[in-house]
């Protein structure tokens, strides 16, 4: 004990920072900020440290080469004691970190903490969110399995929409026109050097400002922020009703961070590490790859957008969102802080949450994947084959072999991308059915030359059987009349 004290004194005599640290730790913060709402920022920091520690351990084993990355993960999972656990911690840590950063941001937004004088803190925070997402994204690519391929595929397709520079950016990202060995080394460099460097730098600036400007006081309805008076008011508040950050306020942060670390460990133990899913062999097409959780919503947006909208949406969307976040404190830099007096802010959060939640949910349907094998494993429901003619059975087979089942469900089974076809005959006449399969339309591919007339005829005769019993299929009124008055159409 003595020894430690002596060493400490010796060091401090030369470094001269002990006083600063003590002052910082004990600086006075408004009493009501010692709240469970104010723990997310520090928790994000703690999880970040966990990521650094586990990341270094993983980097000792991981081989960033296209040929060996997947195998080195297998070694971590199976041959190295607790290697799987470290992978689990790092993977779940990443998800937790993104989640906590988002929650932190929502809290800061709702509590008006971005307002004067903390505009820059907020802006750096926005950058921190972006680099955190960057870490999550590049980390997923390092797994270099099927999911990584697909996750990257989406990222690249976004980048490739940038006018003029699109292909240049793609080759910068991938180290060539396609995902290959050079891609992996690039993402490795990004994930372990570039982005963490940025992250540490931003965190330092962010923390410095938090300390210098003080923790945002608890927003009281009616206490208005004005540039002229705010700083003075804040100092009065901390003087009158302040408590030292350490130890009065910090224990809640520590408790919460500890709980989060335990939760990460629990997830690692109970759910295990992520993947690696199938080997990243582009010739293996029987997988349903899916990007990591936080990018799922993007996946759904991309599959829903009509092709003509994709480019503008991908280019303008991010600019609007990021620009909006950065400009927020300048537009609403003063005024009411309490969320009780800011209904639009609350509504915005709800709206965004519902939208992201819905999209994420939608993306969890498998049929979005590029190559799908549901068709071959999912039979036509038995009752749809009951009492059918030989031609209609052939139509059912065409339905299977042309993969219609991937996008269309029958009796609730099958793809959800197109409408369910259980009662399609009620809505569409033969003519319209033929047009739909030959010419496609909406998000449905045009089958045109891929269907022979015989296949089309069989297919349509099968589709005509898809209507609830007792309700006749749709008929073209003009045609029905003609058929009735001239000659009965030869029934197959």
């Amino acid at each position: 004990m003595r020894l430690i004290e002596t060493i400490g004194k010796w060091l401090d005599a030369r470094l001269q920072i002990g006083e600063t640290i003590r002052e910082t730790a004990e600086h006075s913060v408004p009493r009501d900020t010692a709240s469970w709402f104010y723990v997310f920022g520090s928790a994000a920091l703690v999880v970040f440290m966990l990521q650094i520690a586990t990341g270094i351990m993983l980097a000792l084993i991981y081989v960033p080469s296209a040929g060996q990355a997947w195998n080195s993960l297998q070694i971590l999972n199976h041959s190295i004691t607790l290697g799987w656990f470290i992978r689990g911690l790092h993977g779940w840590g990443s998800d937790f970190m993104v989640a906590i950063v988002l929650i932190h941001m929502v809290q800061v937004f709702l509590f008006g903490a971005y307002k004067y004088p903390r505009e820059l803190t907020w802006m750096v925070g926005v950058l921190l969110l972006l680099v955190t997402l960057g870490m999550a994204f590049t980390g997923q690519v390092l797994r270099f399995d099927q999911d990584a391929y697909w996750g990257l595929g989406i990222g690249v397709s976004i980048a490739s929409h940038v006018p003029l520079m699109g292909s240049w950016i793609v080759s910068l990202m991938l180290g060539g026109p396609i995902i290959a060995g050079a891609t992996l080394t690039r993402f490795f460099a990004l994930h372990v050097f570039v982005i963490p460097g940025l992250l540490i730098g931003f965190v330092a600036v962010h923390l410095l400002m938090v300390i210098k400007l003080g923790i945002n006081e608890w927003p009281m309805p009616g206490r208005i922020v004005r540039k002229a008076t705010y700083v003075k008011e804040y100092h009065e508040l901390t003087k009158k009703d302040g408590i030292p950050f350490v130890p009065a306020a910090v224990w809640k942060d520590m408790f919460f961070s500890g709980a989060i670390l335990l939760a990460v460990a629990a997830c690692a133990i109970y759910f295990g590490p992520f993947g690696p899913s199938g080997q990243p062999d582009p010739t293996i097409i029987q997988t349903a790859p899916r990007p990591d959780f936080f990018f799922l919503w993007l996946y759904a947006v991309l599959s829903f957008l009509p092709p003509s909208m994709e480019t503008p949406a991908m280019l303008i969307g991010p600019v609007v969102v990021i620009g909006g976040l950065l400009l927020l404190p300048f537009i609403f830099g003063e005024g009411e802080k309490s969320w009780k007096r800011r209904p639009i802010a609350v509504l915005t959060i709800l709206l965004v949450a519902v939208a992201l939640g819905t999209l994420t949910h939608l993306a969890t349907y498998t049929p979005w994947s590029p190559v799908m094998d549901a068709w071959s494993s999912l039979p036509i429901p038995a009752e749809y084959l009951h009492n059918r003619s030989a031609l209609e059975r052939q139509g059912a087979l065409v339905f299977q072999v042309k993969q219609c089942h991937n996008c269309h469900s029958l009796d609730h089974e099958g793809g959800k991308r197109g409408p369910a076809l259980d009662a399609v005959a009620l809505q569409l006449t033969d003519d319209q059915l033929i047009r739909q399969v030959i010419q496609g339309g909406g998000n449905m591919p045009a089958y045109g030359k891929n269907l022979s007339p015989a296949e089309t005829t069989a297919l349509v005769s099968f589709l005509k059987t898809l209507h609830p019993e007792g309700r006749p299929p749709a008929r073209d009124a003009a045609l029905a009349h003609a058929a009735g008055s001239v000659a009965p159409a030869t029934h197959p």
Binding site: S376, D431, V460
Partner: protein, 245 residues
């Protein structure tokens, strides 16, 4: 003191729980890669379900295509047939080629596993004991005009005059015939589609089996009904009324 004891107990309990979890934590990856390389799947049930069940039915019957699990079918068709058809598919029909060498996704070995598995699972060696089924492949050329008579004797009671449909549906529709190979027609005449109520070669007329020549002839007749431009023009299409969509 009692508070301290409670805390100590709680901590001890957590430690025990943690240790018991560590012995075999559920998140620990099982042996081997998580997702098997599709090429190394060697389980018949998995392969059959993923590749064949969609058309031939989960239990080898009940799909839109012929029931591969029908013991009569398996007694007539040998392994070579199963293997060849699964490998190459049947061009012009909805039966795709599955072997990698033919653009499919299965290895030769997997095709073999499927062919072997179908027989092992569904074949009944004795179903045709004492019966003398016509051979799977035609040995003699069929005569279509004799076939028309054979049709009238054996098939017309269900499929109607000239095959245009009666109790059972039309089997001379141009599009239908275009999507069925001659061999498939022959297979169906021999083994029927028991799950649909279509009789095999013995059951068309009570007490009267079809001879091998009868089968070849009726298939030749069906083949002669094929249309030159099957499916054209599309049935009931009328250009003037099509602009609604």
């Amino acid at each position: 003191m009692s508070l301290l004891r409670q805390v100590a107990l709680g901590v001890a309990g957590l430690v025990v729980l943690g240790l018991s979890g560590c012995a075999n934590p559920p998140g620990k990856p099982g042996p081997g890669p998580e997702v098997v390389n599709p090429d190394s799947i060697a389980d018949f049930a998995v392969l059959y379900k993923a590749n064949c069940a969609g058309c031939h039915g989960f239990d080898g019957k009940g799909g839109a295509a012929i029931a591969l699990g029908d013991p009569v079918y398996l007694a007539v068709a040998d392994d070579a047939v199963l293997r060849r058809v699964a490998t190459e598919g049947v061009p012009g029909t909805s039966m795709p080629a599955f072997a990698k060498s033919k653009g499919g996704m299965l290895t030769e070995k997997q095709v073999e596993i499927i062919a072997h598995g179908i027989r092992e699972k569904w074949a009944k060696p004795d179903v045709l004991r004492g019966a003398d089924p016509p051979p799977y492949a035609a040995t003699t050329a069929g005569n279509s005009s004799r076939g028309a008579d054979v049709y009238t004797i054996f098939c017309a009671s269900c499929h109607g005059i000239a095959g245009k449909g009666g109790k059972a549906s039309s089997i001379v529709n141009g599009s239908f015939l275009a999507l069925m190979s001659d061999q498939e027609l022959r297979t169906i005449v021999i083994v029927g589609r028991p799950e649909l109520g279509a009789p095999d070669w013995r059951g068309n007329v009570p007490g009267k089996s079809m001879s091998a020549q009868d089968v070849s002839d009726v298939v030749a007749w069906l083949a002669s009904q094929r249309a030159q431009f099957p499916g054209e023009p599309y049935p009931q299409t009328d250009k003037s009324t099509g602009g609604t969509r």
